[in-house]
Amino acid sequence: MQKNAGIRLARTIHFICNNEIISTEINPAASALDFIRTQLHLNGTKESCREGDCGACSILIGELNGSQVNYKTVNSCILPIGALAGKHIVTIEGLNQQNLNPVQQSFINESAIQCGFCTPGFIVSLTGSLLSSSKINYVTLLAAIDGNICRCTGYASIKRSIINFVDLHSNKINQANERTKELVQYGIVPEYFLSIPDMLNNITKEAKEDYITNGLVTAGGTDIFLQKNKEIENEGIIFIETDSKLPKIYIENNECRISASATVNEIRESSILNKILPDIKEYFSLFGSTQIRNRATLGGNIINASPIGDMTIFFLVLNSILHFSEDGKLREVSMSEFYKGYKLFDKKPKEILETISFRIPEKGLKINFEKISRRTYLDIASVNSAILINVRQNIITDISISAGGVAPFPMLLKKTSKYLNGKQLCLTNLKEACEIAEQEISPISDVRGSAEYKTILVKQIILAHFNKLFPDLIKAEELVW
């Protein structure tokens, strides 16, 4: 059993902002954005939506890893100051040099700026990708700004800026392990970045930690902070360690274990998981944005108990087990039995979700994830669904389908799955399964769609699963009904 739910809170928080060491005794639950703007007077970081949905407040957060610093782009509005302890944060001001850096210059070259309010966030996000992506090309840079909203340009000039940057610079940036040095050499980030590892080593040594036990338990906080925001400042906060040096994803006895504190991006990029769950990179690109995925954790998504949590819906079909601990006592709950009602679940108040485990799917099992939302990226699903299925000689031998947005909690379509198990894979059976699914779900009309829409979606998504996994058996023409 891995111990990674260390609860800690440093009374004085030390971190580096740009090239300056900051020490503060401010409430660790306070928003980093407010601190940056009102205490550090760094006004290039903008407040716009204040819920992690626009990227105008994007900053980089760098964590020491050996002699290197790993940088990620995050939304500072829903980032508690406590999470900055021992880290390096970079605002737009920390990227400025005497002359415009190449990322900034590419925006000028293509006039990719109108009102300018979102612009610093775009520059920061792109720089975050340059610091962290192994490959630099148009696709990776475009993906890096999936959490940045611009209302003026229509994005066309921003796309041209990226092309301009890639044309001029991407061939120079190719050393993933010496990336910071490379970027300093080409003037993309300032020289002080090179001295950050030493500075971080020093402040980490200085930091004294106090342990507290009261307050709201949070990991990435991407949901809690937009739900509660101001209240948290008064309630107190407990951070679950999200940057433990222990492995967060590993295989033991044919079981895959994922730390609850693994972020969505850590899961997406895990070589272990990509091997056993081939398309997760693609599936989870639909989860939030780069900034959100860098903070949001698997545990947070499960405990938040949103009826449409993307990760939850996915891990449900893997028949995952949730491992809880409370004062050293361990307890296991099957994820399929965990949810009891709207935001009601089988967890004692002081229990902390430690890990999620699932048996490695045996050979032949196929998996698919579908998500329908008004906007494909950075949106909450109207309905999402995952399937795990095995078909032998045209007979379904094992199946599990989950669906989100159709019940008060993330749901396993048990009746539908049961009906299909052992059946021949054919359209008649699928259509019957759709009818059973319709009976099994209880969607409500809300801002994500009417009940009727969600009902249609569930049925269409079931068909989409099969169309995608078995295109030779379930023909497109047959799905027109």
Binding site: N43, S111, F117, I123, T153, L226, E233, I372, V447, L457
Partner: protein, 762 residues
């Protein structure tokens, strides 16, 4: 060209109002908004709230020294509610406190007892109840009554277009300072400094000369800060004036979305008649405009709907009725296009439906009826320099409409679950404020003794590039380095009585005024230089790239020399100039006149792909030939076109404003009101300028660009409709925008009858 504004933006160094350092004694404001859409205020209980440590004062209507009235066109809007609330989000009380957090905590402790009254959210219901803000407006031409009998095909129907939230990235913000105990200075994120000045003066009972409004730049406006900044500026001014200390108000995003007005939803009826060849002979329609609880700019917006109801088509017999319906929603307001898009959607829907009935493609009708030179608009103006047909033809020759259609047909025949659809979307948009008197602007230009130039105008830089364009104009007239030119903030003490930065006209109006001012100064300088160089009166002197030329030959005098010399000779190096658009008038009694200085034309072709299994879609391309006139800043103009198109297609596709029956906004945040992101924006946007176009009415023959391209986005609706019909040929398209994935899915798969997708507004 180095644009200093852009350089500051990419470095995060440009100052928006929320970035201005404030003194320690600044108070922060938080507003208690009405929780109900309609009711009688029985009691406002402040006791608990006022006890919160750090609270300085709580303002209600009775604390207003002047008039509690912020209405513009109609005086029907209170700053703070008195005995009635008429929409959810109406300001009722204002807490001023030492910090923003304290102000919000105290605000949440205010209790208001309200007796609930029936709320109306639907414009047709409002009309039936007699709730009209102004009398019905009627525009007509020809003889509609006799025209119907000449028609071979008559089609009627209804359409709905939804509201649209502006989502300027910078929310509404205001910062006010008391000045000398008798006046006030307000930094406001507004498109209309003069309007803010007028309203704040009215509320504080001050003459306008004691209210100074300054706008450094704003983080997006799109019409949402034309009149809607007034309340926040007036509230901040009220607190600062009363407490004699600076006061600041930044609307949190959730409040901004919830309480400010949006693009007007319209519900419309149409009837269109054509001959057998597809020529439109008659068009009659009624617009039910959902104005919200107060007039705001609704009457002017309704006017523009009526002006643009025939889009780019010549229709000989037309009757348009516009109804400005009062409902219990936040007062709706200007939004890029200003009613034009709502009108154009209806004619496009009518053409689409007529084409279906006739068994032809809509573009046959569209093309056949495009305006020609000299055609008369239904408001009496003739189409001059009309490029509607040229744009269409140019689009066809550049992009080959038939080839696009063929490739789509081929794709659709070889794909079962993916279907493509295309549509053409011509536009025509009149340039000028439809209120004639507003078509004026003035500038103040100083040449400093070191040769640098400062320009003040009332044009507010909000991303549209007006500052860059004004600098270009001055640099060109003076023929000096552009780095010599600085654009000052928009400030009411330097430029008075200004129209808001709106109606796409800020370059035309301010640019023309600047041309006059610069030419006046240039004349003075050259006169002085002639004296210095001992040249005859009639010799030809000019400046080229900072050097003075005499009769085509360079002299040893440079810009800086002649400026210096003129200064020492006590030549006036400052001037103010005003421009008023000539030749425009409009008789409101008969709804006829030359309302516009000129028109902007263009045509777009749009391609979309629909995933018919999942009901989701992609906008593949928007290709346009647009009449820019002679653009003098192509990057800015193309950027405006691209940005406008994406806003327009956002409005028509995923931007879904949902109010419940109680008038409460359900889509009150970025997480449930989705605007296009980089992946939703069209994969390909190609904007080609119409070649050899010119426009004598514009600056250097350019044309206004801000609003017109937004309306290309309307075509996305019809492209998607065609894709839906490719999958299900027998469906009848409901003309209800936005065409969300939900509406698409319900249309393709619903077993129940027609229904609205808005679960709350069914």
């Amino acid at each position: 060209m180095v644009n200093t504004d852009l350089t500051k933006h990419v470095r995060g160094e440009s100052i928006f109002i929320d970035d201005i350092p404030v003194p320690v004694n600044t108070v922060y404001l938080s507003i208690l908004f009405s929780p109900l859409a309609h009711g009688k205020i029985k009691k406002i209980i402040l006791d608990e709230a006022i006890k919160v440590p750090g609270v300085k004062k709580i303002f209600t209507a009775k604390d207003i020294p002047g008039k509690n009235q912020i209405g513009g066109i109609v005086l029907d809007e209170l700053l703070l509610a008195e005995d009635e609330v008429t929409y959810v989000g109406q300001p009722v009380a204002v807490v001023a406190a030492e910090t923003q957090l304290i102000a919000r905590i105290a605000r949440n402790k205010i209790k208001v007892e309200i007796e609930k009254l029936k709320a109306i959210t639907d414009p047709r219901e409002a009309f039936a109840a007699g709730e009209l803000i102004i009398p019905p407006k009627i525009f007509s031409s020809g003889n509609i009554e006799t025209a119907w009998k000449d028609c071979d095909v008559i089609v009627d129907g209804t359409t709905e277009t939804g509201g649209q939230e502006h989502i300027y990235m910078e929310t509404q913000v205001s910062l006010a300072f008391p000045i000398d105990g008798e006046g006030i200075k307000i930094f406001s994120s507004t498109q209309g400094p003069t309007v803010v000045q007028r309203i704040a003066a009215r509320v504080l009972d001050l003459p306008m000369n004691k209210v100074e409004v300054d706008v450094p730049r704003i983080g997006g406006g799109f019409g949402g800060k034309e009149d809607q900044a007034n309340a926040w500026a007036a509230i901040t001014a009220l607190a600062a004036f009363n407490l004699k200390c600076p006061a600041k108000l930044v609307l949190p995003r959730e409040e901004d979305i919830r309480v400010t007005g949006k693009r007007h939803p319209y519900s419309s009826d149409f009837k269109i008649g054509l001959d057998k060849d597809g020529k439109i002979l008659a068009y009659e329609f009624t617009f039910y405009q959902n104005a919200g609880a107060a007039a705001d700019l609704s009457p002017a917006i309704l006017d523009r709907t009526l002006f643009h109801a025939a889009n780019s088509y010549f229709i000989p017999n037309l009757k348009a009725t516009g109804l400005c319906c009062r409902t219990n929603l936040p007062p709706n307001t200007a939004f890029r296009g200003f009613g034009g898009p709502q009108g154009m959607f209806v004619i496009e829907a009518a053409i689409f439906k007529a084409a279906q009935t006739m068994g032809i493609e809509p573009d046959v009708i569209q093309q056949k009826n495009l305006l020609k030179e000299g055609d008369s608009f239904h408001y009496g103006q003739n189409a001059v320099n009309c490029t509607a047909r040229l744009c269409w033809q140019s689009l066809d020759s550049k992009f080959q409409i038939k080839e696009i259609k063929d490739s789509i047909a081929k794709f659709n025949s070889s794909n079962t679950l993916l279907k493509k659809g295309m549509a053409l979307m011509p536009i025509c948009f009149g340039i000028s404020f439809t209120n004639t008197f507003m078509n004026q602007a003035s500038v103040l230009v100083h040449i400093y003794s070191d040769g640098s130039v400062g320009i003040s105008s009332a044009a507010v830089e909000m991303g549209q590039g007006i500052n860059a364009k004004l600098r270009q104009i001055a640099a060109k007239i003076f023929s000096v380095e552009i780095s010599r030119i600085k654009i000052e903030s928009s400030n009411t003490t330097r430029v008075a009585n200004a129209s808001p930065t709106a109606a796409s006209s800020s370059t035309d109006l301010n640019g023309k005024a600047l041309l006059i001012a610069c030419n006046t100064l240039l004349e003075r300088l050259l006169k002085s230089a002639k004296e210095d160089l001992n040249l005859k009166e009639n010799s030809f002197l000019e400046i080229k790239n900072e050097i003075v030329y005499s009769n085509g030959n360079p002299t040893k005098s440079k810009w800086i020399d002649i400026v210096n010399s003129a200064f020492l000779k006590r030549v006036n190096l400052s001037t103010q100039a005003q421009y008023a658009t000539p030749g425009i008038y409009f008789d409101k009694e008969i709804s006829k006149g030359n309302a516009f200085a000129y028109h902007v034309y263009g045509t777009a072709i749009i391609e979309t792909t629909l995933d018919c299994l999942r009901g989701i879609y992609r906008i593949d391309s928007v290709k346009v030939v647009h009449d820019f006139g002679k653009s003098f800043n192509k990057q800015i103009d193309i950027g405006q076109a691209e940005g406008g198109i994406v806003q327009g297609l956002g409005w028509i596709t995923i931007e879904d404003i949902i109010f419940d029956h109680e008038g409460k906004l359900a889509t009150n945040s970025f997480s449930n009101y989705k605007i296009p992101d980089i992946h939703f924006a069209p994969e390909e946007m190609l904007i080609l300028p119409l070649e050899n176009s010119t426009n004598p009415s514009g600056v250097f023959n350019s044309k206004a660009i801000g609003e017109p391209p937004l309306m290309y986005g309307i075509g996305v609706f019809f492209a998607l409709a065609n894709a839906m019909k490719a999958f299900r040929p027998n469906i009848n398209i409901s003309f209800s925008a936005p065409l969300t994935p939900e509406k698409v899915m319900l249309k393709l798969y619903s077993r129940s009858k027609e229904k609205s997708s808005n679960y709350l507004s069914q």
